[in-house]
């Protein structure tokens, strides 16, 4: 008990130095928490933006199409039939289904031309799966039966286009012959996924099918499902395709988000590196503190040993002091982190400072919002204390192991 009290008391002896170390630890811990919150927020938002605006939870396509899906070829398309659609729609857990015909096009405004991705959609079904309609900033999504287009605000800005302007989409039919889609812009959309804003033109499915000469065919079905249930629903779908002798396959949104997932894995590596640096800072601070204290108190240690204090009691004194610093640093770090994460979760971090995030493959438009990762707080606090205790043992033992006579006469 005496050693414990002495250890606590020693905490107040070098106030300035201890406060500085506590601050260093707090700063390192809070930086880690902020980074963790921001990275998790980025990951969560990226995944949501992929699911809600690009892929849905599950996509159904022929494997041959899926392999080359980025090529947007008009090969291996799915011929729409009611039986197939009903079977997918009625699969347990499927909340909506959007048939899509994806194609390459050149958007022409009469002066310039830019390569875009055309997407033929059935508007009612599309709205069941995707949230794009909530982000129409001018005009509206086209109504069923209406032959109009919707484009992103960035694309509109680039091509100097407004609602009610006419655009020409230069496409190639299934036979590779040029064709044009002359269509009026119904609305401009600014969705949280920059890909939607930068390079996609939505047109009615029947208009796209006619222009591309693909009859009643689509590239794939995008499905909205109960979140987190994707794998189970994919199994059900695959089973049902097998029973119906269809070669179709179902793919989770994760397969379309490979680059973001890879980025996320790299992020975890980065977070690990930050954590190592944070812990190293804490360890060095505490080791430094214990060594300095031991050097300052060499005579005192010698005196305590001469008065009968055992080595482990002296080690314990230093350990209590280091643990105190660890606890206080950890608490301060968690408090600072709490404040920072609250701010990040509420106001977010504008990525305009670092440029267009989509250039780095992050499908986020302008702000990343932090997320709460409570286990990270407790993990960091506990780890901080453990590191403090462990890193103090060796220097404390070095101090306690001194010969009392030499220590008392230490000059």
């Amino acid at each position: 008990m005496f050693s414990f009290k002495l250890g606590l008391k020693n905490l107040t002896r070098q106030k300035r130095r201890n406060i500085l170390i506590i601050f260093v630890i707090a700063f390192a811990f809070s930086s880690y928490l902020l980074m963790d919150s921001l990275m998790n927020g980025m990951e969560e938002m990226s995944f949501d933006n992929i699911k809600n605006y690009d892929t849905g939870n599950i996509q159904v396509a022929y494997p041959e199409y899926w392999e080359d899906r980025d090529e947007l070829l008009l090969e291996n398309l799915i011929y729409l039939n009611q039986d197939m659609e009903e079977s997918i729609k009625n699969t347990d857990g499927v909340l909506g289904m959007s048939p899509e015909l994806r194609f390459k096009a050149n958007l022409n405004n009469g002066i310039d031309e830019v390569a875009v991705r055309g997407v033929g959609i059935s508007i009612e079904q599309y709205n069941e799966v995707f949230a794009t309609q909530n982000f129409v900033v001018e005009g509206s999504m086209f109504a069923p039966g209406e032959s109009k287009a919707v484009i992103g605000t960035s694309l509109a800005e680039l091509m100097d286009l407004k609602v009610n302007d006419y655009i020409t989409l230069l496409v190639r039919t299934k036979e590779d012959t040029f064709n044009t889609i002359d269509i009026e812009i119904a609305g401009l959309v600014r969705a949280p996924n920059p890909m939607i804003n930068n390079g996609i033109v939505f047109v009615p499915l029947d208009v796209a099918q006619e222009a591309l000469n693909v009859d009643n065919m689509v590239s794939l079905f995008a499905l909205k499902t109960v979140s987190g249930e994707e794998d189970r629903i994919i199994k059900r779908l695959v089973e049902s395709f097998k029973n119906k002798d269809l070669d179709l396959k179902a793919y989770s949104w994760k397969e379309s988000a490979a680059s973001v997932i890879a980025l996320s894995a790299a992020k975890k590596g980065g977070i690990g590196a930050v954590l190592s640096v944070v812990l190293l800072i804490g360890m060095l601070g505490i080791i430094n503190n214990v060594i300095l204290s031991a050097l300052e108190r060499t005579e005192e240690i010698g005196m305590m040993k001469a008065l009968g204090m055992r080595e482990w009691e002296i080690v314990f004194v230093f350990m209590v002091e280091a643990t105190g610093i660890g606890v206080l640093g950890g608490l301060a770090g968690c408090l600072l982190g709490y404040a920072g994460v609250s701010w990040l979760a509420k106001y977010g971090f504008s990525i305009a400072y670092v440029g267009d995030a989509s250039d780095f493959g992050v499908p986020i438009l302008d702000r990343i919002y932090g997320t709460w990762n409570y286990p990270a707080f407790s993990f960091l606090f506990i780890l901080g204390v453990i590191i403090a205790v462990l890193s103090s043992i060796l220097p404390a033992y070095w101090a306690a192991h001194k010969d009392p006579v030499k220590a008392i006469y230490h000059r």
């Binding site: 009469g110 002066i111 310039d112 031309e113 390569a115 590779d176 012959t177 040029f178 044009t180 002359d182």
Partner: protein
């Protein structure tokens, strides 16, 4: 005097007969024959050419110069103007490669890239690639006759044959009745919209064949833009070493 009048009369009669014979022969030609005759006139075994491409877009005007070697299936083009010096294209049958000296890399141009304008011009890479015999790809018919730039022309319409892969669904060509050379051509999308128009401004007889030495390509989907193609030197039927059309030669 009477003798002179007689000769004059005979001369006029002979001229009328010859002219009508020519016209009759020409009128009786089928669309396919006309196209084939044009193709025979325009196509050659090998050629070496120096040319200039003037790309006009609004107020901007860019001039590119090039030398080209071509045989029936392959072409090799090297740009010689200062900005693009060293940029090379190699077309080998249905494949097209490009070499950028700055990147020191050979790029295969395929897929959607083929729709882009070649070196920023109104000629797409796909236009350059079209080498098949037109009569194999299109069903041609004569839809009229009219004068173009003072020259009597047949107007021929070609509609893509079913099942064949062609870039343009319909093409309308104005073909000089006497020289059998295309003077104007409109290229249409399946929707009926005219996409491109080519006009020949100047034709010269070189080595016994009529060659369009100045032609203009307009992308009709874009305003205020056209590309003028001027052949400054052309020689036919030269020996071209086989390795000219190799990827090694592209570097």
């Amino acid at each position: 005097m009477k003798k002179i009048k007689g000769f004059l009369l005979i001369g006029i009669i002979i001229s009328i007969l010859i002219t009508s014979l020519i016209i009759t022969t020409a009128v009786e030609m089928t669309a396919e024959e006309i196209i084939n005759k044009r193709d025979n006139n325009e196509y050659f075994d090998t050629a070496q050419m120096e040319a200039e491409m003037i790309i006009v877009s609004g107020n901007r005007k860019i001039i590119k110069t090039m030398v080209a070697l071509t045989d029936k299936k392959n072409s090799f083009v090297e740009f010689t103007n200062p900005q693009d010096r060293g940029t090379k294209f190699l077309k080998r049958e249905d494949d097209l490669w490009m070499f950028f000296p700055d990147a020191e890399e050979i790029i295969k141009i395929s897929g959607h890239m083929l729709n882009q304008g070649m070196m920023g011009s109104d000629f797409s890479y796909q236009d350059v690639m079209e080498a098949d015999k037109l009569t194999d790809l299109y069903d041609f018919k004569i839809i009229g006759e009219e004068e173009f730039e003072g020259r009597p022309c047949y107007i021929l319409e070609g509609i893509a044959r079913e099942g064949v892969k062609v870039s343009y669904y319909r093409r309308v060509s104005w073909i000089d009745k006497e020289r059998f050379i295309g003077l104007k051509e409109e290229l249409y999308a399946e929707s009926g919209r005219v996409l491109k128009e080519t006009r020949v401004n100047e034709v010269q007889e070189i080595e016994g064949r009529w060659v369009p030495i100045n032609s203009v390509m307009e992308n009709k989907l874009r305003k205020d833009t056209y590309t003028e193609f001027i052949i400054t030197l052309i020689k036919f039927n030269l020996e071209i070493p086989e390795e000219t059309f190799s990827l090694q030669n592209l570097r």
